[in-house]
Amino acid sequence: MFEGLILLGQGLAHFMTLGSLFNVAWATLLGVVVGILPGLTATMGVALLVTLTYKMAPDQAILTLMCVYLGAIYGGSRTAILLNIPGTPANAAATLDGHPLAQQGRAGLAMGLATTSSTLGTMVGIFFLAVIAPLLADAALKFGSYEFFWLALFGVVISGQMTGSDSPLKGYIAGILGLLVAMIGMETLHAYQRFTFGVTALGGGIDLIPAMVGAFGLAEILSAMKRRAITHIASVDDRVVPTFREIFQYWRTILRSGIIGTFVGIIPGVGEDVGSWTSYAAAKRASKHPEEFGKGSQEGLIAAETGDNAVVSAAMIPTLTLGLPGSAAAAVLIAAMLIHGIRPGPMLMVENAPFLYQVVAMLLLATLANLIFGLTLTKVFIQVLRVPRERLMAVVYVLCVVGSFSISQRMFDVYVMLIFGVVGFILREMKYPMAPLVLGIVLGDLLDLNLRRGLALTSGDPSPFFTRPISAVIALIILATILMSIPAVSRRVRALRFRRQTA
């Protein structure tokens, strides 16, 4: 406990330099701008910014990316409130009450509430990150190939199940496609080249960054430019800074949403949007005034914004301790960490324990910067909203080319970005979620290596995958998740539960 506090203090002290604080300021501001601009998501912002951090020291690079991530998730709430368009998918729930508040002439208050609840949500997530991560990392040290195989599969399955808006089947398909992409190139157990078809550049596999820049950059450009956006920005005439009472009369909602966001963040590949919607639904169920939800409820806005920001911090728990990305943006952060020689996973606490607390410190600094900018720069942010997409997206595409080229300085990665952009756009249009696809690319190697390594250890006998206690539990959860996504099974389970309740 005290050791953790000391490490956290050291983490904070580590960043109390002029250079670090400068990086916090510009990166958070850039993140907020990315979040405000509709069509630019947090994942896209982080993926594009990785390029800028190549020459930075590892701690400064991750600090910069973390600030962009948190800033973007927060910035999206501005667009949700003033334009009724979520700046990032994470802020969709915030439109329900944020925009009605703006229409009632309380846009300033809505932005103030969103800013403060974002900060509080991040704080709850940070608390759980600092408490749970070391324990989970310790437990994960006992995991073998069998458990890691199931964890990787669990990540893809649960992400497919929870993000497949049309049907879980599309989520699963996206996950399988991601895993198949990860199969391209030289496999690590016997050094055999799979699916390379004689193309030398495919030997090293598909890099995550160009794929992400395509799926979240070019695909976003195509989605945003499909039709001309006509925007009506609500005016801000009232005060922005909320009173203590306006916030803390909803302390139960804040705490509940923070905990829900944390739980969602811990689940691999389930992002901020799910955290936000789940918190919003729970707040509506528990509220004394559920009829106000959707009509400008302050409680609803607070729940949505606390929930999504708690996910950001909590997503770092599986990311750092298991190497399983807690969200799509966290997947990019894993790639960035690997580029900078930081290996997330159970060994992180053994090899580089201070880093975990440095991440906590990064999140604290980023959220404080968000709070300061959010309450003081309202007028500037409204100007950002006026930038036409036609002018912005051309520049974003140039950044996509730079971002995908710079990692290995080869045009092949730019072509990868183009292919992933077009395929990603088509999949999105057909309601296939992107998170399981990304998770599949990240976890494919882990899944492949651990399944075959496990089988090699037992000379082909698969029984330890089902008989070791932790393996068996994860396998059962996966089986239950898949079964529950079959409509006939879930209907029957629900009917059984209903019958038991009425009996």
């Binding site: 800028l52 089947l169 399988i176 080229f405 183009l418 089988l455």
Partner: protein, 173 residues
């Protein structure tokens, strides 16, 4: 309600087409994985051969693709195929086609043929002009847009070059 049904019909037909592609891909992956060497000469356990996981994934994709196709085929909303074909002739499709053409021309031709900053400036200028003057329902005045587009192209193209190549020392294409 009718519009919703048509949308659902289009979605189902699109799902059916995707399902066919996915099943074909799944079967191809299964075949390619099956013929991967078993590496017996290296005395490895047969359960660890390189094609094992792709084989399982190919099977999973075939099953999921079949389920998707089965579900889509059962949905018989009217106007699905004609609606799907009609999407290709919309303004949205034209805008997407234009972006793709511009992006491909910039990436495959301009970059590498011209210095990166110059290629980027041309791309940004062309992009803004196309979408603010031509492919829009409410075109902006040509001259004013051209001036704005030129200013943004120079500032953004030059700015990206300076920031990445000079300040952050990143190699550009």
């Amino acid at each position: 309600m009718e519009a919703e049904d048509t949308q659902q019909g289009i979605r189902s037909r699109a799902d059916l087409l995707t399902a066919i592609v996915l099943v074909a891909l799944g079967i191809a992956v299964v075949y390619l994985s099956w013929i991967m060497p078993r590496l017996e000469a290296r005395r490895i356990s047969p359960g660890t051969f390189p094609g094992l996981v792709p084989l399982l994934l190919g099977l999973a994709l075939t099953v999921c693709g079949s389920l998707l196709g089965f579900k889509a085929a059962r949905d018989r909303q009217p106007g699905g195929w004609s609606g799907l074909l009609g999407l290709l002739g919309t303004r949205a499709a034209l805008r997407i086609g234009a972006i793709m053409a511009l992006a491909l021309f910039y990436t495959l031709v301009l970059v590498g043929w011209l210095p990166f900053w110059a290629a980027s400036m041309i791309f940004i200028f062309a992009f803004i002009m196309l979408f603010e003057v031509y492919l829009t329902d409410s075109p902006a005045p040509l001259l004013r847009t051209a001036v704005w587009a030129a200013v943004i192209a120079v500032v953004a193209g030059g700015g990206i070059y300076l920031a990445f190549a000079r300040i952050f020392l990143v190699r550009l294409p």
